[in-house]
Symmetry: C3
Subunit: 208 residues, 3 copies
């Protein structure tokens, strides 16, 4: 019967952990796929599956949010955080589906590099989200947020470099269109990770 006395809102931490684990799973698998160098039907299917599960985890948070009167931190922060964590997983699905639509089966070295930076950033995101359970982690969280910000800058520079290369060396405009979009999508994952860091940072500051 003890459960009755545990405030419902603590549940949010479990829900966020579940959700962020899907982001880590998607990022890790995406890195694996790029390193194998081949995107096939099975890979696309698996990323889609993770995305569906992440959708459900996100929906569970929104539902809980709508039903809960007292929340562990600001409602709009919970809403933003859940939405952004889901956006991370969505982006892997977007990239996989674009590779499929564009009939790109061979991954290039640039996307492999992006995938490696992305997995680092998503792991840091998971660390900040999991750290929120305890306000004593605030310094550690701050360090992870700095790291996520650094990786976003790395991603910006990578994108600019690979786009400059693409526009200078690739003579087929259709190929330029395809890869330009994929590199930009890859960088967008890092942007969303930074958005998460900003929300987590703001949550921690408010609790301090």
């Amino acid at each position: 019967m003890i459960f009755k006395f545990i405030p419902r809102e603590f549940n949010f931490f479990d829900l966020f952990e579940k959700q962020v684990n899907f982001a880590v799973e998607a990022a890790t698998y995406f890195k694996e796929v790029t390193q194998k160098g081949v995107v096939d039907e099975a890979a696309i299917k698996k990323i889609e599956d993770i995305e569906h599960q992440s959708d459900e985890a996100t929906h569970a948070i929104f539902e809980q949010l709508n039903k809960t009167f007292i929340t562990p931190f600001d409602r709009e922060d919970i809403h933003a955080l859940a939405g952004q964590l889901d956006d991370i997983v969505d982006m892997f699905n977007t990239i996989a589906s674009r590779l499929n639509v564009y009939k790109i089966t061979r991954i290039d070295k640039n996307l492999i590099e992006f995938a490696a930076v992305i997995v680092e950033s998503v792991r840091a995101v998971a660390a900040t989200v999991k750290g929120m359970r305890n306000i004593k982690n605030s310094k550690l969280i701050a360090q992870y947020c700095v790291e996520i910000h650094r990786l976003e800058n790395v991603g910006d520079a990578m994108r600019d470099k690979v786009l400059a290369e693409l526009f200078e060396t690739e003579k087929n405009p259709i190929t330029v269109i395809k890869w330009k979009e994929i590199y930009e999508d890859a960088e967008t994952v890092l942007d969303i990770c930074e958005d998460v860091a900003l929300v987590v940072d703001s949550i921690v500051v408010k609790q301090a």
Copy 2:
């Protein structure tokens, strides 16, 4: 004199109905235009007109929201809903204006198919918005939300299919750029419809 006793906030339902009717009008007219197969100055002008009227309806909701202390549901939900309904109408204007800028006068069969799915989704959106007047409609609203979600998936699959076709068969890169954007815009209308469904769903859950 009885009007004095009717709470001001009930007005919101009228305002939302007015606004969503412009979305239905735009979607229906867009479908008509695509089926005729020709986008001329008159068609573009008419879509622009609907967009201006929708803008005014949206502005009226924002104004009322700023002046009203007690609202029938959460302020941020009202704000999001009004913004998204206006975004739907804006997208028809964006598509029409793009067809004009790109000097595309002949509509292709893919856009005709998109327009048919879009009008279905926008009608379902209107049904959910109108249903919000009465909490007893919550089951019906839930059904429409499921339908809007289904149509968004249909749209995703259509977009992937037509883009794959476009990149495989069209040899003129300029033509690829043009149609790629138009198909993506068409799919975006269905995305926004789904955003509306999520907000309406969240409003209904909170009232339950």
Copy 3:
């Protein structure tokens, strides 16, 4: 000692003025650069510098917001306003960095025209933001908001005109991709200015 009695929240006006001054600085410098017709490393560096300073000013507002219990106007309005003012400065950085990545060193007359309209709009934005200090300025603010809206329409028409020209006259698809994006970015600055005007307008209405 008198400072102790000045409510902390008044600080927000100073912070917003500081922030919006970076937007004016970036817009003015961008116009200057386009008129000289050459974007070099030094120009890109300077725009980046302004962007970093704007980031810091934005961060200071978010931090203050998280620490302050009573704010001069709605928290979400403060958050939206600070975010959008920073987005304006970000866009100049985006455009400069794109010109760099695409190895475009010669500015065309269209971008010069855009830069002239943008600087007008950003100055009007600064006037509305600075006007917020005193509710007596509400009529003046309303006039500036109308002007910002007018300039956004001017920008829409310009973008459509220059894109139509680009697609009709430019035969190199890679060049089309590059300039299409730059013109669209330029128009986006005017869109964000309009978003600011909407938030400021809503703040003023709520205080009236």
